[in-house]
Symmetry: C3
Subunit: 351 residues, 3 copies
């Protein structure tokens, strides 16, 4: 595929500066782009990389100039570049249809142009919305409902009674709706507390690979609209995650925790049971939020137990200076003793 700079500028609604007929054959990063490739400059902070780049064309923010280069000026370079990537790397939808090896239980209802891959198994009364794609080897339990334009990658497992919205993406190896971790002791042995709730995944959620989301004990575990979850995340029974929250890889969220909207959770964070995290809070990577704790809206916390970032940094700085503090105390002790000797000598002289 080849496109001129002018065609690309038209696609992204940008203003062309330089050679309109320059031919572009692919997309790349600033560091690796060749003269036949287009790259993007996110902000003025990337000027020196842009100067060194050999890219044949650059998508740049408004007001950004680089003499002798072909530029496409836009309000939001990353967004425009996302469109250019899809121009050169269209993601072809699989041909609609049910692969002959797919197994559909009684009462399964499929929307228009659905694609069901080889060896997928849909148990009874599953409903799949229009244009949704189910990959090879996916298992979908009884009565699961999935909306439109959703993409379930190969080898995902969905337990019965889960509800999944529209434009959701679930990556391979993920498990949705497994039993929560609930037991009670009878004479020193654990017995299983039945886990009969469900999981609700709302529209525009993306779930990475190897993620496990447990069903509620009674009610539902809820993943709100637009939530983005990275690989290998664990979400326990009855957790609520509100809209537009993002969760980095390997984070774990224990039972009944409630994450409000627009929260940013770093990688390998641990959130204990019954925690509440306020709107727009930021939880730094590897932080641990203890059971029942409430993190206020907008707060930025780090460490285990998690505390406000400023406090964490202050404590850490003090920790680093502890050897110095010990020396100061030892010196003070000596000085005090020296002064005492002086006083005692004076006193002896007086007598």
């Amino acid at each position: 595929m080849r496109r001129t700079a002018r065609e690309i500028a038209e696609l992204v609604g940008g203003r062309l500066i330089g050679e309109p007929e320059r031919e572009i054959m692919g997309v790349a990063s600033l560091a690796t782009a060749t003269e036949r490739e287009i790259a993007f400059v996110e902000s003025e902070g990337h000027r020196s990389q842009a100067e060194r780049s050999r890219a044949g064309c650059l998508i740049v923010p408004e007001g950004f100039r680089l003499s002798g280069r072909t530029l496409i000026e836009v309000a939001h370079p990353r967004r425009a570049f996302a469109d250019v990537i899809l121009l050169f790397h269209p993601r072809p939808r699989p041909t609609p249809g049910v692969h002959p090896t797919a197994i559909l239980g009684e009462g399964v209802i499929l929307g228009e142009e659905v694609s069901i891959g080889p060896y997928a198994v849909l148990d009874r009364q599953v409903r799949i919305g229009a244009r949704t794609v189910i990959g090879a080897g996916v298992y979908i339990g009884a009565r699961v409902e999935i909306g439109e334009d959703t993409l379930i990658h190969p080898n995902v497992t969905i337990y019965p009674d889960v509800r999944i919205g529209t434009r959701v993406i679930i990556h391979s190896g993920s498990v949705i709706g497994s039993d929560g971790f609930g037991y009670f002791l009878v004479e020193g042995r654990y017995r299983k507390f039945p886990q009969v709730g469900s999981v609700i995944i709302e529209d525009d959620v993306e779930i990475g690979a190897g993620v496990c989301i447990d069903r509620g004990t009674l009610g539902a575990t809820r993943i709100g609209r637009g939530v983005k979850i990275d690989n290998l995340v664990h979400i326990a029974h009855n957790v609520t995650i509100e809209e537009d929250t993002v969760i980095a890889a390997q984070t774990g969220i224990a039972g009944s925790a409630h994450i409000e909207r627009g929260v940013q959770i770093g990688g390998q964070v641990g959130i204990a049971d019954h925690v509440r995290i306020g709107r727009g809070a930021i939880i730094g990577a590897q932080a641990g939020v203890p059971s029942g704790k409430h993190i206020r809206a907008g707060e930025f916390v780090w460490g285990t137990p998690a505390r406000p970032m400023r406090e964490f940094k202050e404590q850490y700085a003090h920790l680093s200076r502890l050897p110095h503090l010990r020396h100061m105390v030892a010196a003070l002790s000596e000085q005090l003793e020296a002064l005492r000797q002086l006083v005692l000598e004076e006193r002896a002289k007086d007598e």
Copy 2:
């Protein structure tokens, strides 16, 4: 389904207080229950939630009273409620039989009323006990033995020679018997040390989703009777986990660690190789137990490196007061200097 309060009281062997004919149509939590639903009160500590609840019937501990409400008094409310949940949400076993697409190798032996799902693959000489259920897409390697009444959810992978007991539950995506992480260096490059041991999973174990349990290098990795393992846990080669231990999500246990019985391990805990954890110990979430360390029976530890909880809390409290300590030291230094000046002035006066 509908049941009267009287019928439910009979089922759980409880004492009915209030309206015997009140009709109940489902189970719910105290917070969400309607007048047609039953909820439970674990202890006196949940009184205010019980008072606010709209539940039509409450299962309560002995001696708990709430005027004007229909109550069922029992010795162990959570246990009784578990039975009530199963009354309203019976878990139907799949119809026994081998799905025509399942592949059984030579010499596979199946017990009575076994259920093997679509696209399951059982390699040669696998033995499956009576009433055990193997989900869709499960792979079971050669010579694996599985006991009775066990439930293997879809898309689980079991390597050859693993032994699994009776009434075991394994959730989707889990992998049992993969090679341990063992190498040796030859001229700067790692060579694989063969991993030819096995995994033994005893009766009444439950394993969550996405769990990985490696086979022993020579002997076996052993998961004792009644052990409960949450999602995304890693258990390395030659680990021993004794009876009735519980392990929360995303914990990792390195090679040859030995966890005694009745231990409670929090989420995201790291236990290094050759660690020994004594009977009934508690390891707090995200703690890290260093290589070769021995945690004593009954001890409660936290932090990395893990230390007794009391010590951890004391150190943490001191860490929080470090800024104050620095101020104290600075003030002492000034006061000492002031006193020295005073002494020197006195001395000068004397002379």
Copy 3:
């Protein structure tokens, strides 16, 4: 199978001391070996275990003697023992051939003696090298290339366009080539940034169970020759891991991090985005390396934020002695006050 000590000594090129005709029927560890089994002694440090061992034959390092025992003396006991393990536990390669239930898309090219398991799905234009084994239920996306003598265990998922080398091992449940975690905000909502790069896995890599390796956003995520990755590790988009690096279980490596060769990374380590780890560095278990940080070649770091081990240990020791430091400061304060009183009394006497 039975072999004499002499036959085993010949196999490993060792020097036999003791009974050449002693019969050995299996391998075991020092602790569990019987008289019919062989075990190995890694070094002089294991002498007491060797003395207690009932093993019928011991592979020992040069110069190691144990009277009355049959020994095989070699330069590298672990390496020799690895060969003996494979003698008693040969790993039979599956019979070459494509299982009739495997599905091969258009243009798939298979090398000689390839084995493709039941229900494996190879999308169009996949190429598989000679003697490579693809397990049951594996999904391989379009245009994936896999080298020779590679082993893909059951239920692995490989996304399109991934390239995998020769003698690679990938364990069950792993996902290679899923989308990286990349979004941009438009009016408060996250939009997906297309992830169109690939993953390159070089020769002699081993990848554990449940590992997730994301494809690059534009370029490739690269796993260098001889890298060994334990279970449940997360590797994000555009990460580079150079040759002969080892990564223990549950570690996460964020976007564009660059790990140089010969690095050792412990379990549950978190490496943030754009970190660089120098050649031969060691990252202790559970350490957290903050965004953009550069760890120098050969350095040994621990803690979050990661710092040189010596510094970590010093700070930790100081932390442990904090209660003592507080007492010292309190005592100093009292002593200072006592001295001040003394001075003031003296002064009053003088007046």
